[in-house]
């Protein structure tokens, strides 16, 4: 298990074991729609959406150190912009602006990134606590305004999406959305990985560790914060677009709700903030806990999430990733020492 002991500059992807495990996971995901029930497929799709949300929030919060509490806004705006393009009549737009679903989802994600690009230079005038609460307020403003724009969003009634990507009898719409989500999740993970391992990732970590020091060494903090914010918002928007077009119904009160921010945060804290594979483990753990515990103590899922993030952040700040790493490294430390060249 030496792969967990890579130095920062080394690439995880060069390790054949990691590649093999990843390939197995992808193969398993491909088989999911054929081997499980629709509801289980939906559950795993939700897990993939959590991975996208967690990985993207982690880029911004864990690597660049900007604790945003407004992630839900980008998730929701990605979903709404995509819905306007895939089902324009729902918002009173002419039929002619309709775009096929896959490009529509990319445009939705780009729209979320564009919002981040526009508000980034303003909101990054804030830092620390002020940034966290400023992003929370911003997301609240977006939610309230969207809720009020009844003709565009359906208001409290919500917005019904018409989309059908089913391929004959073979694959239902949900199954196709599942595969698209798998592809999007892989893209999110790979692109984020390349960013984090590259010079940009180093810049982000530098401003996270000490913004003043990084700045004095010629690292432009705003540039790296913007980079993280825009990329993170793009993937959050893409996740929203996928999820909205899987459920075929979105609502400003649920799709833009703070609960998506909470989920992103919980996934990252459980997995390990600022570690690359943390959010991936975290999404899996969260899905199991959320469903397992809600069967045992129904109605208390939020409280359970709250308790989990408190306990993890105090007693296990490196998350599940840190736990696994510690356990494995201890176990193999003897043979590990012998292997080093």
């Amino acid at each position: 298990m030496a792969f967990l002991e890579k130095k920062p500059g080394e690439s995880l992807a060069t390790d054949r074991r990691v590649l093999a495990i990843s390939a197995l996971v992808v193969l398993w995901l491909v088989a999911v729609p054929f081997t499980t029930t629709d509801s289980l497929t939906g559950l795993i799709l939700t897990g993939l959406v959590f991975v996208m949300l967690g990985v993207s929030w982690n880029l911004l919060a864990g690597y660049a150190g900007q604790i945003s509490l407004g992630h839900a806004a980008f998730f929701g705006m990605g979903a709404f912009v995509t819905a306007w393009l895939s089902t324009p009549t729902g918002a009173g737009f002419p039929e002619s602006i309709q775009v096929p679903l896959i490009p529509a989802m990319l445009i939705g994600a780009l729209a979320a990134a564009l919002i981040a690009l526009v508000i980034g230079p303003i909101i990054f005038r804030l830092s620390g606590h002020y940034f966290a609460i400023g992003t929370l307020a911003l997301a609240a403003v977006i939610e309230l305004v969207m809720l009020d724009q009844r003709e565009l969003t359906g208001g409290a009634t919500g917005y019904y999406i018409q989309a059908d990507l089913s391929i004959g009898e073979l694959l239902s719409h949900g199954d196709v959305m599942f595969y698209l989500t798998v592809i999007a999740t892989i893209a999110t993970v790979v692109i984020t990985y390349l960013i984090v391992r590259g010079p940009t990732g180093l810049g982000m970590k530098a401003i996270h560790d000490d913004e003043d020091a990084a700045s004095s060494l010629g690292v432009n903090p705003l540039k790296y914060k913007m980079y993280a914010f825009v990329v993170s918002s793009f993937f959050a928007g893409l996740a929203g677009a996928l999820y909205g077009h899987y459920t075929l119904y979105i609502n400003p009160q649920s799709t833009l709700a703070v609960s998506w921010t909470i989920d992103s945060l919980v996934v990252v804290i459980l997995g390990g903030m600022g570690t690359f594979s943390g959010p991936i483990f975290g999404a899996g753990l969260f899905l199991v806990l959320d469903n397992g515990l809600s069967a045992v103590v129904s109605g208390y899922s939020e409280a359970v999430e709250g308790i989990l993030i408190i306990l993890f952040i105090i007693f296990l700040p490196t998350g599940l990733y840190g736990l696994i790493k510690e356990y494995l490294v201890e176990e193999v430390s003897g043979s590990d020492a012998a292997q080093t060249e």
């Binding site: 609460i133 929370l136 307020a137 109605g299």
Partner: protein, 293 residues
């Protein structure tokens, strides 16, 4: 003419409401100024305080003005407990950990509120008879006036406590420089416990007062968190007078926003003011960058 009367009335109501906002914000401001923590659960603590008053009123008919005292006592206990059990592990550990612990606490309080009390909005009545009175063209309703007066009295009491008692001085010293305060023999751990207790108690008091004016549901926490933080930003962290002025400004502008833009924009107005001030003058319209006044 009718419109201007309406506007006057709206401003008066805004001022009366603003007093309670200021009281709620004072707790947040104290904790932020002294412990350097933004209490993300502050709005949810306010919600709990409101429910204590509502439940007491529903069960016994005791006015929430008395219920407020019970709410303050219980919430003080919650604050002390929170600091001793959880926050002391993370309070000086930078930004991420306290924010996430308090975010988690907010989730727990919201969930417990929903499970124990149901998702429906509830409200209490002031429970004591009294008539409002006219001042010029404006009418001061009895509950609004009483709650405003109580809120301002509590703010004044907090100010006097900080200004004139030995513990208050120790709290202000810790806010100015926690290391130096420690060298002067101040037990800063104890100061943190007291500060969080007072901050939480003030949230509970504001909640009890608000329960007489507005329906409370388990989800009001986030919205009151943002409102109270807006007041802190308007007034400047750690400034008692600034907080009072900030509360009044927010109350008035919110009510005017609701009057001219429609009720749905009540919260949007307060949030935009908040973001605007935050971006233009992050140290607040009044007072400095922290520390007691």
């Amino acid at each position: 003419m009718v419109l201007s009367d309406l506007a006057t009335q709206t401003i008066v109501n805004g001022l009366l409401l603003g007093g309670i906002y200021a009281l709620a914000a004072l707790g947040l401001s104290l904790v932020f100024g002294i412990m350097d923590i933004v209490n993300l659960a502050h709005g949810h603590m306010l919600m709990v305080g409101a429910y204590i008053a509502i439940l007491l009123f529903a069960a016994t008919g005791i006015t929430p003005l008395v219920g407020m005292l019970l709410a303050m006592a219980l919430m003080f206990g919650l604050g002390v407990l929170l600091q001793k059990v959880l926050l002391q592990f993370v309070v000086d550990e930078g930004l991420e950990q306290p924010i996430i612990v308090l975010f988690g606490l907010a989730l727990i309080l919201q969930n417990l509120g929903r499970v124990i009390l149901g998702g429906d909005a509830r409200t209490a009545d002031i429970g004591i008879p009294g008539n409002g009175f006219d001042v010029g063209v404006a009418f001061l309703s009895f509950p609004r006036t009483v709650t405003f007066v109580v809120a301002v009295l509590l703010i004044a009491a907090t100010w006097a406590f900080l200004q004139y008692t030995k513990t208050g001085q120790a709290i202000r010293a810790t806010a100015q420089n926690r290391t130096a305060a420690k060298y002067m023999g101040i037990n800063t751990d104890r100061i943190y416990v007291i500060t969080l207790g007072i901050g939480t108690a003030l949230a509970g008091a504001a909640g009890a007062l608000l329960s007489m004016l507005f329906p409370i549901d388990p989800y009001v926490g986030w919205s009151y968190l943002l409102k109270t933080f807006a007041v802190v930003v308007l007034g400047g962290v750690g400034s008692v007078l600034g907080t009072l002025v900030g509360g009044l400004v927010l109350g008035v502008s919110e009510n005017l926003g609701a009057l001219y833009l429609g009720g749905g924009y009540r919260n949007v107005v307060s949030l935009l003011i908040f973001l605007g001030v935050l971006l233009i003058k992050p140290e607040g319209l009044f007072g400095g960058s922290g520390g007691g006044e």
